[in-house]
Amino acid sequence: MSRFRGFGVVAWRELLTVVRTRSYLLLSAGLLLVFVGVLRVAGGIGGGYVPTAVDLLLPLELLVPLVAVALGYRAFSGENDDRPVLRTYPLSKSALVAGVFAGRFVGLAGIVGGPLVAVGLAVSQIGGPESRVFAVHHGVDSPILFVRFIALTLCFGAVVLAMAMAVSVLVRNSRAALAAALAVLVAVVAGGDLVALLGLSAGSISDDLLGTVLAVGPNAAYRGLVLESVVGVVTDRSNAINVPAAVFGLGGWLGVSLLIVWFGLDRRPALLLQNALDRARSLGLRRRLWARLRRRG
């Protein structure tokens, strides 16, 4: 069990960090406001759990990565880079990685899941349609479908969180970490879909492969899984995505990202690169200085 020594303590510490940061609470409240606004405009909340999930799907596709990146990009970089200290503790590398990830994920679950649970409760209170003349029923709408939706959303969040952590371990400097994290955000939000679109229009992705290729992008996988296992239950229309491929895709991104964190914890590929760049820059500076001096001379 020594491999997981300290996991719980690290996770708890990370969670406390999230809880103590008041701005995260604000972030959560902001999300709730956005959800309320979106649902007011789109009106899904009066229809039941599935229309609510449908209305929230696209906003969440943008907002969940944002929260995940906010939580993950400084996990191991900038001011929080206490790896040298931590590595002196009786703490295994796996426990550190898993602990940091788990702690921050629970934080993310609270920030995103809290408002979603509140929305779910609101749906249960508002209920579906009513009629004094006709018999009314709920069709196959069910709170379980909304719980599925929340679970899928949190899985998506976990994947992007791991990706952001992987970036933070590679880039030490906090400004560079921010830039890299934003790159992850853009890649997650738009990249995969655009690549699929390009492939499709260039003809390199055949039509019958689209459902599988889409699963490679985390957001398309998330969207596809929601359409398949939440919306699809009601419409009886499936084939939104290749489900095993989507699960594998999300799992793959999560696994690979955590592996990068694990490997990158002691090595500093980006730091090496940084040093090389610094050296090159100072070299160039020196050369220009020489040139100026020579002109004077």
Partner: protein, 690 residues
């Protein structure tokens, strides 16, 4: 800074915790966390794998379903004729539709669920029940209608046994009869024929039910039939002369009485006194300015003989008795809610369910009254009346052609231009000015009202309990209430090519399986009110109205495509029921104001006319900018995906980028049409015009 200090502090804490604890404690804490993780993981997998079958809903009272498949006329008539008739019925709970849908006739469900948009609007049936005739003492009436001794119960559709191709009928035609047991189904076939099948076979069976497409395809046939009927009736105008009014001092009535059957009574120039009665088949033909003037009391011309014709005369001096306020006041028209306001009870001893309607709508004086006389012609006649123009009772195959009815300027004091009571015929090329309704029909299935002009009446054409009518190419304006009003839930009406303007409500159509196309509705307070279901609304031009179209029918089963909405203050102000998708086979309607990229035929961004922003796009500056906000654009994307679960609204997921009736707009010099089909895309004509 505070954060950093805190972070360092937590690091120190962490170290303290880790060094203080024994390794076994650490392990158990970690184990606990891992345990929780495993439970969560298992739970979430279960969440997706488990089949959470919701409790199967029990059947509801049929009255509480949103029912289709039977006209109100049939419903009232059946109630009236026999209390024991129990038609096969079905009730279906859909996955995303909150109301239980009731079908009269299993076959009406079978055809409905084959509609390509059915599943999109309702989702799939989660459970369906059918009438169970086992042990209910079923037998068929002479008309093939099922009667039972005990009222039948319900059985799940997939557990029942069905008899198809038997002698059983509903008012709409052949019907499928369900039983709980195979034995009782077999027993039924022994007596009434047919074969016993199970549910899957029923879904595959080739049942034929007339629908809106049937109406569309039979339009030409209907017109031809009317043409033939008019030609036949017009021959009556050429009968040999049998008597001349005024010769030997004969009065009009003398001449009529003297003329042999199947001859013409010539009515010379001048004014002739009425009232008159025609009780044998002759033709009354005026020459020059021939006038028949009543004494201001009662009806002027009473026709009781078949194949009578009245051609080329002017009729006036009609009494002013009308049915009065029961008809003229805004009574409760029972257009779609059971018996409604027309069930006045039996006041005159006649026990037919619609006896009171005759008193209310076909009573009073008229210029011409035709009763139980087949094949009567009224042509080239000008009528001045403060009561009714022509009232036709139980007289099929009548033709009214080129007749002008000048009614009362105040509709409350007037009556119908033509009232067709249980009389099918043709009303064409006529003009109706003032009075109550231009043409009023009651149980006149198949009547044709075409190429007429109607001004300043209460309503232009008013259909009650009338199915399969053709209302075509009428020009209607200045109606106090409604241009064309189809009420009391009929089926199969065709409303095509009418131009209606400056009217309170241009078209109000109820019932089902009707076809409303190529009408131009302009400058009305409301262009169209849709109460009908399972109907097709296409290529209508809805321009410059205060409100374009209101949709009230609860069931989202209409096909509304290729209509042009331009210049209305609000294209679709009100919609009740669930969200409707007004798109079929990838094309919707033309909406002035719809925005988005196009492929040359349709706009990719859905247009929601009932949406506060989309609904303002064509008239409020800035709405365009707001509508393209990513936050709102994102919402538009999936909005149409579960329409049955969304409240009130209309969405068009493939708005046309140029008007379907572009020629109409060009002809009328409309410059406010901006086709947004981009260059490079194909022009729309080739793409979405038949």
């Amino acid at each position: 800074m505070y954060q950093t200090i805190q972070y360092r502090y937590s690091l120190i804490q962490l170290y303290g915790e880790m060094t203080d604890r024994t390794s076994s404690e650490l392990t158990s804490g970690t184990l606990l966390l891992i345990g929780v993780g495993v439970v969560l993981l298992g739970g979430s997998i279960g969440l997706f794998v488990a089949d959470f079958g919701t409790a199967t809903p029990e059947p509801v009272a049929f009255d509480e379903t949103v029912a289709i498949g039977l006209t109100l006329e049939d419903e009232l008539r059946l109630e009236d004729e026999s209390v024991d008739v129990e038609l096969p019925r079905m009730q279906v709970f859909y996955s995303q539709y909150p109301y239980v849908v009731g079908y009269y006739g299993i076959e009406s469900f079978v055809t409905a669920h084959r509609e390509p948009t059915h599943e999109q609007q309702f989702g799939f049936p989660t459970v369906a029940y059918v009438t169970d005739y086992t042990s209910r003492g079923i037998r068929l009436t002479a008309d093939g209608l099922p009667e039972t001794r005990l009222s039948p119960g319900w059985i799940a559709a997939d557990e029942a046994y069905y008899v198809i191709d038997s002698e059983a009928r509903t008012p709409s035609g052949e019907t499928i009869v369900p039983f709980r047991t195979a034995e009782s189904a077999e027993a039924f076939t022994e007596e009434y024929g047919g074969t016993v099948v199970e549910w899957d076979a029923v879904l595959q069976s080739d049942v034929e039910v007339d629908d809106a497409e049937t109406v569309r395809t039979r339009l030409d046939g209907h017109r031809d039939e009317a043409d033939r009927s008019v030609v036949r009736r017009m021959e009556l105008a050429d009968r040999p002369v049998g008597a001349v009014v005024g010769e030997n001092g004969t009065t009009l009535q003398d001449a009529i009485d003297a003329a042999p059957s199947n001859t013409t009574v010539l009515v010379p120039n001048g004014t002739h006194s009425g009232p008159i009665e025609i009780d044998h088949p002759v033709t009354l033909r005026g020459s020059g300015d021939a006038r028949i003037e009543g004494d201001g009391n009662g009806t002027v011309v009473t026709v009781t003989a078949p194949e009578t014709a009245i051609v080329g005369v002017a009729i006036s001096g009609v009494g002013d008795t009308t049915p009065g306020p029961t008809v003229t006041d805004d009574h409760a028209h029972g257009g779609f809610s059971g018996t409604g306001g027309h069930d006045h009870g039996d006041t005159d001893g006649d026990d037919s369910w619609d006896a009171a309607i005759d008193d209310d709508y076909a009573g009073g004086d008229s210029a011409v009254s035709i009763t139980t006389a087949d094949g009567v012609l009224v042509a080239d006649t000008e009528i001045h009346t403060d009561a009714a123009g022509v009232i036709v009772r139980d007289s099929p195959d009548f033709v009214v052609s080129n007749v002008t009815v000048n009614g009362s300027a105040n509709y409350r004091e007037g009556h119908m231009g033509v009232a067709a009571m249980r009389s099918v015929g043709v009303v064409e090329h006529s003009t109706f000015i003032g009075g109550l309704d231009g043409v009023y029909t009651h149980r006149a299935d198949g009547i044709v009202v075409r190429n007429n002009e109607m001004y300043d009446n209460r309503m232009g054409v008013h259909l009650m309990f009338t199915s399969d009518a053709l209302l075509a190419d009428n020009a209607i304006s200045g109606q106090e209430q409604t241009g064309i009003y189809v009420m009391t839930g009929p089926q199969g009406n065709g409303i095509v090519g009418n131009e209606i303007t400056e009217t309170w409500t241009a078209i109000s159509v109820g019932g089902s399986d009707s076809y409303v196309a190529d009408n131009v509705l302009s400058e009305n307070d409301l262009g169209m009110r849709i109460d009908a279901t399972a109907s097709i609304f296409e290529r209508n031009v809805i321009v410059d109205n205060r409100n374009g179209v209101e949709t009230w029918a609860l069931l989202p089963t209409n096909r509304v495509t290729r209509n042009d909405f331009v210049g209305n203050d609000r294209h679709v102000p009100i919609s009740s029921g669930r969200l409707r998708v007004w798109t079929h086979n990838g094309e919707g309607n033309y909406w002035e104001g719809a925005i988005g990229t196009t492929d040359g035929a349709v706009i990719q961004r859905p247009y929601t006319p009932t949406d506060p922003i989309d609904g303002r796009l064509h008239r409020v500056d800035g709405a365009n900018t707001l509508a393209q906000a990513p936050a709102l654009d994102a919402l538009a994307g999936f909005e149409g995906s579960v329409p049955g679960m969304r409240a009130d609204g209309v969405i068009d997921v493939a708005p046309l980028c140029s008007p379907a009736n572009e020629a109409w707009f060009e002809r009328h010099g409309r410059t406010d049409i901006e086709p947004v089909c981009q260059s490079g895309g194909q022009r729309t004509e080739n793409v979405h015009h038949d």
